[in-house]
Amino acid sequence: MSNKVNRRDFLKIMGWGGVGATLAGCDMPTTVTLEEGKEQVTSYLVPEEYVIPGVGVYYASTCLQCPAGCGLHGRVREGRILKLEGNPESPVNQGKLCQMGQAGVQTHYNPDRLTRPMARKGSGLTPVSWDEALSMIQSKTSGLAGERFAWFTDTVSGHQAVLMDAYRESIGSSRHYVHEIINNSVARQVNQDMLGDPQPHLRFDKARVVLSFGADFLGTWQSPVHNAVEYATFREAPRGVLVQVEPKMTLTGANADLWVAVRPGTEGVFALAVANALSAKDPARLDGLPDKARQLIRRYDIKKASRITGASGDHIVKVSGWLAERSPSLVIAGASAEGHEHGYDTVAATMLLNIILGNIGKTIESSGTFPFPQLAARTGGTKDLIDFAKAVDDKELDVVFFRGANPVFTAPETLGLKEKLNKVGFKVAFSMFEDETTRMADLVLPMYSPLEDWGTHVAAYQPGPSVIAIQQPLMQPLYDQTRGFGDVMLSLLKMQKAAGYSDYPDYYAYLRDAFSAMPGSLKNGASDDEFWASVMQKGVLAVDTGEGRLSANVIDFDLPENPAKEGAYHLVPSARLGMWDGRHANIPWLQEAPDQISKVVWDSWAEIHPNTARKLGVKTGDAIKITSASGTIEANVYVYKGIHPDAIAVPMGQGHEAYGRYAKGRGVNPLKILALNTEGKTGELAHHGTEVQVSRTSVRDAMVQFGGSETQMGRKIIATVTADVYERTEGEA
């Protein structure tokens, strides 16, 4: 820093005397320093271990923003949690975190948190004490015929799930409905039937070609951060090829080398056509397949498949060429493949490709056997939602406990769940927020945030070594009238006089005891205290799942000859990394983070193809009306060529009628107008199978989009090279 001209002289030169008057204050004590004695400082009574004021300390925990179970390191300073990072010890996310995980602090500090228990008195909810709340539960459940009680939750696992089961059993009920709108229930069933493992390990890092049928594995599928970590290896030399086949471009599709738009519901035809092309070159590939499967494959030659799917025949040839040349490969199927009446058969067709290509055991590995089945994840999809609605309608339930899931928001309108729920006499919501379901509850129990509570979690998809992920509080609870879920469960179990729980003062004590009771093989000779401390420090406990073997059983399946309904528009309720199923619509950072594809913020939109736009006479920003048999939604359109002309995509997550200031009254919820078609073999909702009419409508509020330019206009902002150049320059490395 040179001081040849001092600042005041400088200001004179520039003639900015007016500003100078403000700036001249730099040496004036009254404006620069803080007034002494105006603020209070509070010291520790007793110093906390590890804590040095002014220095951040990192503690390990587990992210609960989605069911993937990533490990966290939370930066804590002066008792506040400031920032979340990925835990490098976790084999799931390996030190990385997605935007939803980063925003975990805004779930925790959300200004719309519920802070006290409330009970329904008349039409409204009024505050009650915890004692009153718990005794209400006790009076409603005593003498209840067992099966008239049910849990309705999102994915749960670990010791919380053990306590939930124990409570359910103490009442005598077997009903636990698990609902996730973003799920892979159909694929799990196919995996179970064909491989003998519902959730095998997938090795993106080993694959040379990944052919994905609508599986948004970088965005919303299974374990996005883990998949992204493996994807990075997949893209290193020798660089793998990613092909994505789907009607609407997902985040994964946006990263594909080849993105193939197909008519909604025709993914299976594309898969069989690829098998057909493979067998045309090498008939031996079909050796050992049952006749039925061979016939199916033979049914779709390239020409026919191209006509049905709307994909170009060249693409089928190209994809089969890559698969033939580069091994091993990996074929996966996600929401758009599963979400039709023939979803099971579509996924089976894609799995058949894995068998033909010999990928089983190479890029698809057995997950072994998790040694603690009582801790394993209870997964679910939409079948439980439909079953639950029926049970409610048939007046089979008197008391329902809701936790995590928000079925009033995620259920299609035609299911009539909101009205039917009035038939349940006593609804209890274990919730952090007043969402649509919580709003209907008779008793609302405010929960600790995930960053305030204890817990253990076993993700449904366990990539690599299986772990029990540890959740420990990163800070003191913000509100003294909130409670930990495990603590409440223990209170309820004690009230039920269930055997074996009376000795635990709280959930922490229960967990300590549970870890002391873990088999010695996990402790490596450590004492109980040492073992606990090391587990807390690492944030994960690796468990041995043993060697498993996958079968390659080609099941009997069939596809409709032409599964597409031409000339009809299909609604794609697309999942976004960020909003997820709508549970993150109350996080301002995620509302303001532009959608990866459309770059829209704070709103819903409808994605349509330019051909569709021309037919409708609309351009980006205009509004359209989307009508199904069960309702109408309106949204501004985003016109681009990342969607099949027969598809209209509206992202899930917005359209909340409650759920706090950031979520409420923003955008539309495409789930509301879904038809109640179900997948034929699993009973899951065929959520991509809704036909809709589309028409132009008058202008809504303008859509807010980031950026202004859809292309680079010839500027070299992002340059692209071909893969052969990459192999030449970096292939040796």
């Binding site: 105006k38 009574l45 004021p53 002014g54």
Partner: protein, 213 residues
């Protein structure tokens, strides 16, 4: 529980830009410092015994700050020769010096001078499990990054010929002659000019981003 001690959010006007003091005191158990703070004051600057250092120039006539307990710095430092860093233990390993935890006071005062009224008051706080509500005397604005540890390193630990016993002389650069004070009186301006002159005289860094955040 949290939120029991919400501080008023002060606005500071400085050099054309306004900044918000958004640092909170969330807990009775856990303390918050946004920047340096030391409860001390002084009157006249004593002859320096710090080698290789030019003490900063500047004075300030601060207000009297009433404290919950009239802590006599002079008795501790001057009479009993207790090193500043014995109590302000975080100063050498953190940006902030820290107020000693109440347990530290009680370490001595559960046996020493227990009959004195101030100690009785302290004992009362201790038994109620509440740290005394001290008032901040020294502070810099929230847009300033000041670190005690590096200043101590430069003037004490890495300073050839400097005796650690005399650390109070280094503290006195910014906090005045605390060892001859009872409570809290701010005698140094702790403004940018004060910092800048000292950095000039002692060849401290001059990069804006060293101190402004």
């Amino acid at each position: 529980m949290f939120n029991t001690l919400q501080l008023p959010s002060g606005h500071i006007t400085h050099c054309g830009a306004r900044f918000v003091n958004r640092f909170l005191t969330p807990s009775l158990f856990l303390l918050v410092f946004s920047a340096l703070l030391v409860l001390s004051a002084g009157a006249a600057h004593a002859e320096s015994v710090v080698p290789n250092a030019v003490p900063p120039v500047g004075t300030h006539d601060g207000d009297d700050v009433p404290q919950p307990i009239e802590f006599p710095h002079n008795t501790h430092v001057d009479v009993n020769k207790i090193n500043c860093m014995y109590c302000h233990t975080y100063a050498r390993r953190s940006p902030v010096a820290g107020i000693p935890p109440t347990s530290k006071c009680m370490g001595c005062h559960s046996v020493i001078a227990t009959d004195k009224p101030r100690i009785k008051k302290l004992t009362e706080y201790w038994e109620n499990k509440e740290p005394p509500p001290w008032r901040k005397v020294h502070d810099v604005p929230d847009y300033v990054h000041f670190t005690h540890e590096k200043h101590l390193k430069r003037f004490v630990f890495d300073n050839e010929g400097m005796e650690v016993e005399n650390v109070s002389e280094v503290c006195a650069f910014c906090h005045g002659d605390v060892k001859n004070m009872t409570v809290a009186h701010k005698v140094k301006p702790l403004n940018m000019g004060f910092c800048r002159r000292c950095h000039e005289a002692n060849e401290g860094p001059f990069d804006c981003w060293k101190c402004h955040k």
